[in-house]
């Protein structure tokens, strides 16, 4: 054997190597290779007994192994713990052969299972850098993951606390509930208009959701313009809006505002080449003293009035009266919105 391939040299350059004689018997094992099986003396064992060649498939004899020289071998070492290794066989030209082994991708399990240290790898081996990188990247990744979770949590909290409907920029149901509670607690006189768009579903169905969203935005702008600065407009459902009008002294004001809103909404809205034609039905409650009212009863009263507008043929406003509630009870009670055709 030449000096270049003497076991001492190989132990330094590739500590996971094995030397096989022409019979395929292991005649020398590098220190790290032997460390994988401390209980089993590798020297003297036939290679094909100590290892199973998983790939290339079908290698079971020495001649086949020799024929696979220079190819990447996927090996499984006998004994425990299971060791899947990569290897390459190179004949030394004098009848012997050297098999160099490596952990490949299973390096992380390898160092743990066999308690390997820096000294078990060749100085030029990238295994240590690989371990360093895996550990450093995992730590950085974990820090980023935690940051993402915190940001996600903050985003959810912010959304939960938000008072704005993101599509239209109007107030949302949360804001509306909050304002209603305030007005009721202050025993204020105010009015609530519950507005439901008519024929909106047809726009969505025929022209698509982009058209629907556009219509909602135009409607939102119209409602802001047709109400007073002190009024609050909220979008409380898909095509449902609620306007709260504080300090209403005259029912005529409500009639006028309602009529203006309906007229504005009935102006056809161009979208691409199409015209979206919708209208609105309104149910209005005027609360002059809120002593016995609760948020639920107010919204229910507005809903009953709205239901009456729908029944009367849409595109109109109805003022809530206790009689409406009785007649509603007598006929079909207002159920969920899904039961109402729009």
């Amino acid at each position: 054997m030449s000096a270049a391939t003497s076991p001492e040299v190989l132990d330094v350059l590739c500590p996971m190597h094995l030397v096989l004689d022409s019979e395929g018997i292991i005649t020398h094992a590098g220190p790290t290779a032997q460390k994988l099986r401390p209980e089993m003396d590798l020297v003297g064992l036939p290679f094909m007994e100590a290892f199973t060649v998983m790939r290339p498939r079908g290698i079971t004899t020495l001649a086949q192994l020799w024929a696979a020289r220079h190819l990447k071998l996927h090996l499984e070492m006998s004994g425990t713990p299971p060791a899947r290794l990569k290897g390459v066989l190179a004949p030394d030209g004098q009848g012997d052969a050297i098999v160099n082994l490596s952990f490949g991708i299973s390096i992380l399990d390898g160092v743990r299972d066999y308690a390997l240290t820096n000294a078990d790898f060749a100085a030029t081996d990238l295994a240590i850098e690989m371990l360093y990188l895996v550990e450093a990247k995992s730590a950085a990744m974990e820090a980023s993951r935690k940051l993402n979770l915190r940001l996600q949590g903050a985003k959810n909290a912010a959304e939960e606390q938000a008072y704005t409907d993101t599509l239209t920029g109007l107030k949302n149901r949360r804001a509306l509930d909050h304002l209603l509670e305030q007005l009721l607690a202050a025993d204020a006189a105010f009015a609530v208009m519950h507005i439901d768009l008519d024929y909106f579903k047809a726009v969505n169905d025929t022209l698509g959701h982009a058209a629907g969203d556009h219509v909602l935005q135009v409607v939102a702008t119209a409602m802001i313009e047709e109400t007073r600065g002190t009024d609050t407009v909220a979008r409380v459902g898909g095509d449902e809006f609620t306007v709260i009008l504080p300090q209403v002294n005259d029912i005529d004001v409500l009639e006028r505002v309602g009529r203006r809103i309906i007229e504005r909404i009935e102006v056809p809205i161009p979208f691409n080449d199409a015209l979206c034609e919708i209208s609105a039905s309104i149910g209005t409650v005027w609360i002059q003293s809120s002593k016995s009212a609760t948020r639920e009863t107010v919204m229910e009263d507005a809903d009953i009035a709205l239901y009456a507008s729908k029944n009367e043929g849409r595109a109109r406003q109805t003022m809530y009266t206790p009689e409406l509630r009785e007649s509603a009870n007598a006929t079909t009670p207002p159920k969920g919105r899904s039961d109402r055709s729009s």
Binding site: G110, T117, L133, K137, A139, A140, S144
Partner: protein, 195 residues
């Protein structure tokens, strides 16, 4: 300055002096909210302000605090990752010292926007070394001295350390290795899994 650096100063205060002490520092340094995110970047002026505030709250000079932080970074159980990543650098203490030149590059390999101050090791006769620390952050040499003190112990080496401040703000840690195998040192298990 990278959030990882600011965050480690925050952790040092919290782990050693408690949350209230940190909140006092944060208030003094105008850190609001009083929390650094490890994976975000902060304005460079924040870090010196935090260190000054720490000096005020603890009533200790900057250099002393920095050395203490350095020691904390490689010895506290909460920062075990730092010690491990440094131990990957070398099989023994001398090997480790030589790996310090690569530290900024190694750090960037893990977190691409993390810029550590550049450090340079010069070897002299008889186990003497000088570590030249060139950092815009005053006291970085002290911090490295704290790191080296603990790492020498970690490798079981007896070393004498001394800090020299050069006029242009450069800080030099003089290292004299007295005994290379003074003690057993701490075990470094390559395959240990982070919990």
């Amino acid at each position: 300055m990278h959030g990882l650096i600011n965050r480690s100063f925050q952790n040092y205060m919290t782990d050693n002096y408690g949350k209230d002490a940190w909140l006092r520092v944060a208030a003094k340094a105008n850190v609001s909210p009083p929390e650094f995110e490890a994976m975000l970047t902060y304005d460079d002026s924040v870090t010196p302000a935090v260190l000054d505030a720490m000096g005020g709250v603890l009533g200790r000079p900057r250099g002393e605090i920095m050395e203490d932080i350095g020691a904390y970074l490689v010895s506290h159980p909460n920062t075990e990752a730092v010690r491990r990543l440094l131990r990957f650098g070398g099989v023994n203490f001398e090997d480790f010292l030589h790996s310090l030149d690569d530290l900024p590059d190694r750090a960037q390999m893990a977190v691409s926007d993390l810029h550590l101050p550049s450090i340079e090791l010069h070897g002299h006769a008889d186990g003497n070394f000088s570590l030249i620390c060139d950092s815009p952050l005053a006291g970085f040499g002290h911090l490295m001295m704290g790191v080296l003190r603990v790492m020498a112990d970690d490798y079981g080496v007896l070393a004498l350390l001394e800090l020299e401040e050069v006029a242009d703000g450069t800080e030099i840690v003089r290292i004299q290795m007295v005994a290379a195998d003074y003690a057993d040192g701490r075990v470094f298990d390559l395959g240990a899994r982070a919990s």
